[in-house]
Amino acid sequence: MRRERTRFARLLWAYPRSYRERRGDEILGTLLEGAPDRGSFETARVASNVVAHGVRLRVGIASDQAAGRILAAAALPGLAMAAAVALVMGWFAFLLPGIRHDPVSFGIDTALWPIIYLVWVLGAASALAFPRRKRVCAAGCVLASVAVPLLLPEHNWPRLPAISLLIALAIPALLAPATSPRRSHRGLALFVGAASLGTLGAAAASSAQAAIGGPFFYLGFGTLAPYVAWMALGFSAALLVARRWIHAAALALLAVPWLVFAFVDQQPFGGTPTFYAVWIEFVCALAAGLLGTWASRLTRTPEAIY
């Protein structure tokens, strides 16, 4: 029984701490009372049920509908994927200039991106760990993302290409605030999104000589990465403020084309890599926005859940 108690108590870690403190002993008692009547299959189902509900509380998805369960299940892997993508892309950002490109020396251009992305990952992780402080975490992300480039010494910013990339990234950023259930959140999210876009726009204007550069591996991914990450961070923070975790998970999906183009040596569709990459990005961004809008119907604020 002692072993079962430990095992069930471990399952409860899926719940936010505040909820665990309030309900943990009670749920544990219920789980232990039913333990003798359950076979191993049913025990596994109970365990997955408890974890799923815990995660749903963490991510703010209260619906009992099947779609709500799927979204909850997708949220954590999405975040894990984002972290993994950050790691891989950060790795390339560090190594690539020396390996594949003209001498872009290891320095601020390449170091900035992983720093910013790391800030985002930490912010997202802390928002997950402290659901009641999501807004603080998100605001911290945005401040850090804006402050880091500003505080760093003068540097040789890389070219910023592709207005279409900006548009593609802006679409879900603009959709996200509209899905927030609260007026005040909408305003804040809009502010955060606009600030991020404005910052990026200013950066773009300062390097307006670029026409179509390349957001991906082939055409200077290492040098463009800081801008993309900067944008992604602001975008993600806007989503977090809007309390749309599924947006954040969907954002992770946006990174898939980056990875695909990073690892595939030839363009599967022909044409210039950037052109197709931008359009894939566009489609993914649109899908993410629509998914988030749809998901907003299934979510409630943590205050309503607790």
Binding site: R23, D25, E26, I27, L28, G29, T30, L31, L32, E33, G34, R45, V46, N49, V50, V51, A52, H53, G54, R56, A62, D64, A304, I305, Y306
Partner: protein, 116 residues
């Protein structure tokens, strides 16, 4: 008040004749549904949270049995009213269904048209 779905309805019925704790509700729901509905702990507490936030149930004391915490729940006045109304509605639909089924087959309305 949101729509009362089957598991929620069964939880309310389980609490209709007095207070019950978590595992007591799970057992009673299974009995009431003849084993068709199995509430698991995660679902149960999500349902209890929702019902409590809607003011349909409330805490009714707690005790520790063999080192396990049991928290009891009971229907509020509003919860009893909702359960009564929901039950009457379901009863009316069930009665109507039985009445229609008990009619001789020939007198049942036919579907107009047909298949090509």
């Amino acid at each position: 008040m949101s729509e009362v779905r089957e598991p929620t309805f069964l939880v309310l019925v389980a609490l209709a004749d007095g207070r019950r704790h978590g595992y007591g509700i799970i057992q009673d729901v299974e009995r009431l549904s003849s084993g068709k509905t199995t509430l698991r702990a995660g679902t149960l507490y999500a349902t209890l949270d929702r019902l409590a936030s809607e003011g349909l149930i409330e805490g009714a004391g707690e005790e520790v049995v063999e080192g396990r915490l049991r928290r009891y729940y009971q229907l509020t006045v509003q919860g009893s009213a909702v359960l009564e109304s929901e039950s009457k509605q379901r009863l009316a639909v069930s009665k109507e269904a039985l009445r229609r089924l008990s009619r001789p087959r020939g007198s049942r309305p036919r579907i107009a048209g047909g298949f090509a």
